[in-house]
Amino acid sequence: MILTAAWQLRSLLSRVRTIAMIGASNNPLRPSYTVFSYLRRQRFYDVTPINPAIASIDGITAFPSLAAYAAARGVPDIVDVFRRPSELVAVVEQAIAVGAKTIWFQYGVINDAAIAMADAAGMSVVVDRCMKVEHARVCGDLAVNGINTGVLSSRRQPVHPPRAADS
């Protein structure tokens, strides 16, 4: 199932805890580092880089493959992908092989065959969206930048809203 509505993304982001980030870079100029750095600072997220070219990012040990991660840590709640479109079919095959239920393709990470394969395998699929941005929308951080969060409420929110999964 391809998730597009804001409420579907919000619901997803408040359910997941373990994130395997394929193609995470330790170069601070890369978008993947920006997203990694943001997500690992959020409470309740456990983010792990999957990248055979690096040993770790900011002290967090990287795994060389999704299979190696799954063997050591179990199935990740979500597979977040920063890879070239030509490599995405192989990435989806690996995700299916470890039993992942959700795959998230970041901005510009688009391959129609890979998307169709993940969808056909019964996975929840997010395409051409940034997990950092969507998380910021859920927890209200985006509102500091005048973004239309779609959140209308007259209920008092705690200063640091708990994640729905914990409340």
Partner: protein, 414 residues
């Protein structure tokens, strides 16, 4: 807390969007955060904020909680992805241009726009090396012919000022998109209550918030709203799709995706130009927006009644009835002197250079707002020497008609 699919209506969003109760105090009215800067949680958090890797307020030249509430409400009302507020409508327009264009680039703009926009584009922005071609608003083929390889945007007003010409927004959007360009619409006269240009294909909407958004003539302000759907990575916008020396060599389209334009407009352009909105001004604008729907209904009803009244008067040569909104022009018979006597004889109508106040306003554009324009530019802008512009307010309409009737009699007396 997690919202489902409910699409709230305009009046509900005008009251609630951007302003849940203050998380720190429970204050139901949005607090005025009158502060220049914000304490960092840690040195690490400070570094993350400056690198745009996390979200938070740093300094009120770049963002402020009260201003952000206004921005989010405007984005919600216009149906955009987000908004950036500025110290005035012209500041919003300048920063919009600087977000996508640089020396050597080009703009296509319709002729029937606000005189201040014409001078901003044809004098100040031209001196920065960005040229503008002005084309007739009704001639889509002239717009298409004016587009060059270095063109970065097409600019129109929903309702021409003061000509009242309505732009074919869908036509302009198709034409701009065919040329891989964004359509930018000044929606000041219509407000999002009467027209939401993004629904007709516009990519960026700009406002002078001083007018109907404020509604009470108390505040100068501006805002831009972006749809988030324009492909800024199409190869025509290197300011957004190539490494930025102003921000750690970040590529905005790659890092921020659909937020690329809004992020650059704030984090680079607003930061460097320094034309930010003040928190108190944002607070007044939020207050104004709460009643926008109610006010626009009455503005339009009063304007229709007054246009009908003027049609019946012998002293009036012509009336350009408003097709949308409450600002329109009419021509007096007789000399320029008749126009002067008319304005001098008014009691309730305020003679001043503004529109969109709850109080009714009147002006003679040829000698005031549009006085920097040449005769040819005046005629292109739809301003005749005898034009009188009315911005119809919310008074009892019979009182407004009484005042106009007396002044018309005074104007006719030699």
């Amino acid at each position: 807390m997690i919202q489902q699919e409910r699409e709230f209506g305009f009046a509900t969003r005008a009251l609630h969007a951007g302003t849940p109760p203050d998380p720190a105090t429970g204050s139901r009215a949005v607090p005025i955060y009158q502060t220049a800067a914000y304490v960092f949680g840690s040195t690490e958090q400070a570094a993350e904020l400056f690198a745009l890797r996390s979200y938070g307020h740093i300094y009120s030249r770049i963002s402020n909680p009260t201003v952000a509430a206004f921005e989010e409400r405007m984005a919600s009302l216009e149906g955009g992805l987000g908004a950036v507020a500025f110290s005035s409508g012209l500041a919003a327009q300048l920063c919009m241009v600087l977000s996508v264009a640089q020396a050597g680039d080009h703009i296509v703009c319709t002729q029937s726009v606000y005189g201040g926009t014409v001078t901003q584009l044809s004098v100040t922005i031209k001196r920065m090396g960005i040229e503008t071609t002005f084309v007739p608003a009704g001639d889509l083929s002239a717009v298409a012919a004016a587009i060059r390889p270095e063109t970065k945007l097409v600019f129109v007003e929903t309702i021409g000022n003061p000509s009242g010409v309505l732009a074919d927004l869908r036509g302009f959007a198709t034409l701009a998109h065919d040329a891989q360009l964004p359509l930018v619409v000044d929606n000041t006269f219509a407000t999002p209550y009467l027209c939401r240009p993004i629904e007709y294909g516009a990519d960026i909407v700009v406002h002078s918030a001083t007018k109907f958004i404020n509604g009470h003539g108390t505040t100068i302000g501006g805002v831009l709203i972006e749809s988030g759907t324009f492909p800024w990575d199409n190869g025509r916008f290197p300011l957004l799709s190539e490494p930025s020396p102003g921000y750690h060599q970040k590529i905005f389209t790659e890092t921020f995706g659909e937020y690329a334009f809004l992020t650059r407009a704030r984090a680079e352009v607003l930061r460097d130009v320094g034309a930010q909105m003040a928190p108190f001004d944002a607070w007044l604008l939020l207050l104004g927006l709460e009643t926008l729907a109610l006010r626009m209904e009455r503005h339009v009803a009063n304007a229709r009644a007054i246009a009908a009244f003027l049609q019946t008067r012998a002293e009036v040569a012509w009336v350009r009835e408003p097709k949308l909104g409450s600002i329109f022009t009419f021509g007096l018979r007789g000399s320029r002197e008749a126009g002067r006597r008319f304005i001098d004889a008014l009691e309730l109508w305020s003679h001043l250079a503004n529109v969109g106040d709850s109080k009714s306003l009147v002006i003679h554009p040829a000698s005031t707002t549009h006085s920097q324009l040449s005769d040819a530019e005046l005629s292109n802008a739809g301003v005749e020497p005898e034009s009188v512009r009315l911005s119809v307010g919310l008074e009892d309409v019979n009182d407004l008609i009484w005042d106009l009737g007396n002044a018309l009699q005074a104007a006719a007396r030699e």
